[in-house]
């Protein structure tokens, strides 16, 4: 078991390193990002001299040049970047004048909390739904379920989000939900339960937007794996033995259908992270997605490359955890 985990972690490193290389390469390909000029300035009223000083400042921030203004070879740029990452330094944002690490630590919990809540909700609804559909396979329930989940899966978040925002959080229509942020103004006067309620009230619409797509996807997978197992010999044997259907379902089928559910945990998280860019933008939530969007708008390259790195690292770690859980459930599974 332990050796498996260690081997799996070791195997993660080449991927991680290659990934850093890809991100580094993309960002370094940016047109205009040379040491001689073409850096970005954030103001209109500037003398030439100060502009040059600022260009040098920006180039230093991306660690393209040394303090003396000499360009650093690309290989060394890369090694230094990696070295700084290892020491927990993701660079300094151009737009926010703050260490990127600090920004990420501020924004990451917001996004992760919402995503994890969405994930729990997805599982709570999708698993029973999928099982029901599998049991009533081919009947009307299943048909409706199949079509319904495909419809849900195809609903664009931007449409659902803007409709919800427009109809349910709008003084002109129904003013039921808040349209922005995660907390009300007067949180300092609230008791803990009021506070939690306020939070829940604020995240209802965003979580709804994040979860319905994943719900459809997971339910379909659950249904598929249940159907597979319902047709297996061991199920027939159990039925033939005269066991009650509920026992067959719970003991024999469920056990064997756990695997895909675990795999999908790892698959869902990256998708949710991507979706949170849109959802956080629609509902004005200050999370990672919005940070990424703002950085894209401002071409804040240090932030962009760090965020791409952080989200990919999260993805890799979630894959790793899935694999370990998989192994714990079914030790026959190896890493290839």
């Amino acid at each position: 078991m332990l050796s498996y985990i260690i081997r799996r972690i070791l195997l993660m490193f080449p991927t991680l390193i290659g990934m850093t290389f890809i991100i580094f390469a993309i960002v370094r390909m940016a047109p205009g990002l040379t040491t001689s000029g073409g850096m970005y300035t954030a103001g209109m009223l500037q003398s030439h001299q100060s502009q040059l000083a600022q260009q040098r400042f920006m180039a230093r921030r991306l660690h393209l040049i040394t303090r003396n203004g000499k360009p650093i070879p690309i290989a060394i740029q890369y090694v230094r970047w990696i070295n700084r990452i290892i020491h927990g330094d993701l660079g300094t944002s151009i737009e926010f004048s703050e260490p990127v690490t600090k920004l990420v630590l501020q924004r990451l919990p917001v996004t992760l909390t919402i995503n994890l809540i969405s994930m729990v909700i997805i599982y709570l609804i999708a698993v029973p739904g999928g099982v029901l559909a599998a049991i009533y396979r081919g009947r009307l329930v299943d048909r409706i379920f199949g079509l319904g989940s495909l419809v849900l899966y195809s609903l664009p978040i931007i449409w659902v989000g803007s409709m919800l925002l427009g109809f349910l959080a709008n003084p002109s229509f129904l003013n039921v939900f808040p349209s922005a942020g995660l907390h009300s103004t007067n949180t300092s006067k609230m008791s803990y339960f009021q506070f939690v309620f306020d939070y829940a009230w604020h995240i209802t619409l965003p979580v709804l937007c994040l979860s319905y797509g994943g719900f459809a996807y997971l339910a379909k997978q659950v249904r598929g794996s249940y159907i597979d197992n319902l047709q297996q010999d061991f199920t027939r044997t159990a039925r033939a033995k005269g066991l009650p259907p509920s026992t067959v379902l719970l003991r024999h089928v469920t056990q064997n259908s756990m695997l895909p559910m675990i795999t999908i945990v790892g698959m869902t998280l990256p998708g949710l992270l991507g979706g949170s860019v849109i959802v956080e933008q629609i509902f004005s939530i200050q999370g990672m997605g919005r940070l990424m969007f703002e950085a894209t708008y401002a071409r804040d390259l240090p932030v962009i490359q760090s965020l791409a790195l952080v989200t990919s690292a999260i993805t890799l770690v979630s894959y790793l955890m899935v694999d370990i859980a998989y192994h714990m459930v079914d030790p026959r599974v190896t890493y290839d």
Partner: protein, 411 residues
């Protein structure tokens, strides 16, 4: 004879365990194929519209008679107004139709001549299109026609105009003095006007061209990349495969939307750039898929037999395996298309997609109420619904196709 062969099938289907209700059977027999048919029809309609939209939604009349100093002059503004891009679109569409026709017509030809016939005619067709395309691009100059024909008609300076069914261009505004912004649907504008006084229906139809264009081109790029990488991995296997798979894993590990935003931040945006970006970020699935198919087919008896009989591997692989392995990849491109359409509209919604005034469903959604001071639901409903229908249609068709080629997953 017929009776005998029918027997085993009957017994097999009788052995399937869960009995189905009457409704379910009816639904299965009726609804599913009907739905798929509807979806295929819908997609075809969207494609036709996106190709022919210059003839459907434009402010230019097909024909008009102008009163000039030389008397009555007949003009064809709509046809004169077609751009190089329009002609290229028509050519591409025509080429695709011709290719499909060739495929269909040669189906009856005997096996030996069929392949040669297909190759020759397809190549002729493609090269003819390319030559025509180059000619059009070099010889045709876009006309720039800012005339307001509606105004000409009203002021009596022109007669006998035949307008398009939706007589509004995607960027054509009602005069500001009319206060015709954010109008509800009416006879003049069937789906109302947007916040700049432009016809929502016309913009929606034009947006279908943007969505389909970006979807198809980006998936074409992704497919080409994916097939090349996947085929290489599956063909060489061994070290090449391991390295390739690591690359695929690395690219997949970066969440797609973040990767796309990174590309946009670095390289800027334009319609072409977004096509390329979506293509460059979307190939991994295809590569993975084709590789798996290749590795699976490699083990199959007929390939083993072919190799044993002395056929070289590349001939075996690319003559026999690629056509077989390609079908599921092409089917999964249907899902890829749905994804590309969604991402394109999301980018436009966020304001980093295609440039104004080019319409996009996402951009129209954004314009309808974000940041919402006044939420114009009648502007948000149609483009969102069409976007949804398009994505749903591609997903449904993809699902049906997958079920068709992989009976195991068919319930």
């Amino acid at each position: 004879m017929t009776n005998l062969t029918a027997m085993p099938e009957l017994s097999a289907s009788a052995a399937l365990p869960p009995p189905r209700g009457y409704w379910a059977v009816a639904m299965r027999k009726l609804l599913r194929p009907l739905l798929v048919k509807l979806c295929v029809l819908y997609i075809a309609a969207v494609l036709v519209i996106s190709v022919l939209v210059p003839f459907i939604a434009t402010g230019k009349p097909y024909i008009i008679s102008l009163h000039t100093a030389h008397g009555l002059v007949t003009r064809y503004p709509l046809f004169a107004d077609l751009t190089t891009r329009d002609y290229l679109t028509f050519l591409t569409a025509g080429m695709l139709i011709a290719l499909a026709a060739i495929w269909r017509l040669t189906a009856r030809v005997d096996l030996l001549r069929r392949r040669k016939l297909r190759w020759v005619s397809a190549l002729t067709c493609i090269s003819a299109t390319v030559i025509a395309g180059v000619l059009v691009a070099s010889l045709h100059h876009n006309q720039f026609d800012g005339t307001n024909y509606r105004h000409l008609m009203k002021s009596g300076r022109a007669t006998g105009a035949i307008f398009a069914p939706i007589p509004w261009g995607y960027a054509q505004m009602e005069p500001l003095g009319r206060q015709a912004v954010n109008e509800m649907p009416s006879w003049r504008h069937w789906l109302g006007t947007d916040r700049s006084g432009r016809d929502v229906l016309s913009r929606m139809l034009w947006a279908s061209r943007v969505a389909m264009g970006i979807g198809f081109v980006s998936q074409f790029i992704a497919l080409s990349l994916g097939i090349i990488v996947g085929a290489l991995m599956g063909y060489f296997s061994g070290v090449c495969d391991i390295l390739g798979m690591r690359i695929v894993e690395m690219v997949e590990a970066i969440p797609t939307f973040f990767l796309i935003l990174t590309f946009i931040a670095v390289f800027g945006r334009s319609t072409l750039m977004i096509m390329i970006i979506l293509g460059v970020t979307g190939w991994t699935g295809y590569a993975r898929f084709l590789r798996a198919e290749f590795l699976r087919i490699r083990q199959l008896d007929y390939i083993v037999a072919a190799r044993a009989s002395g056929a070289p591997l590349h001939s075996v692989l690319f003559r026999h395996m690629l056509p077989n392995g390609l079908t599921p990849v092409l089917v999964s491109a249907s899902f890829g298309l749905a994804g590309a359409v969604t991402i394109e509209s999301s980018l436009s919604y966020l304001g980093i997609g295609v440039r104004p005034p080019t319409p996009s469903w996402g951009g129209m959604l954004n314009a309808a109420g974000n940041p919402a001071t006044v939420f114009h639901w009648f502007q948000a409903l149609p483009p969102g619904f069409v976007l949804f229908l398009t994505v749903l249609a591609f997903n449904l068709v993809g699902e049906a196709l997958r079920d068709a080629i992989d009976p195991r997953s068919f319930s």
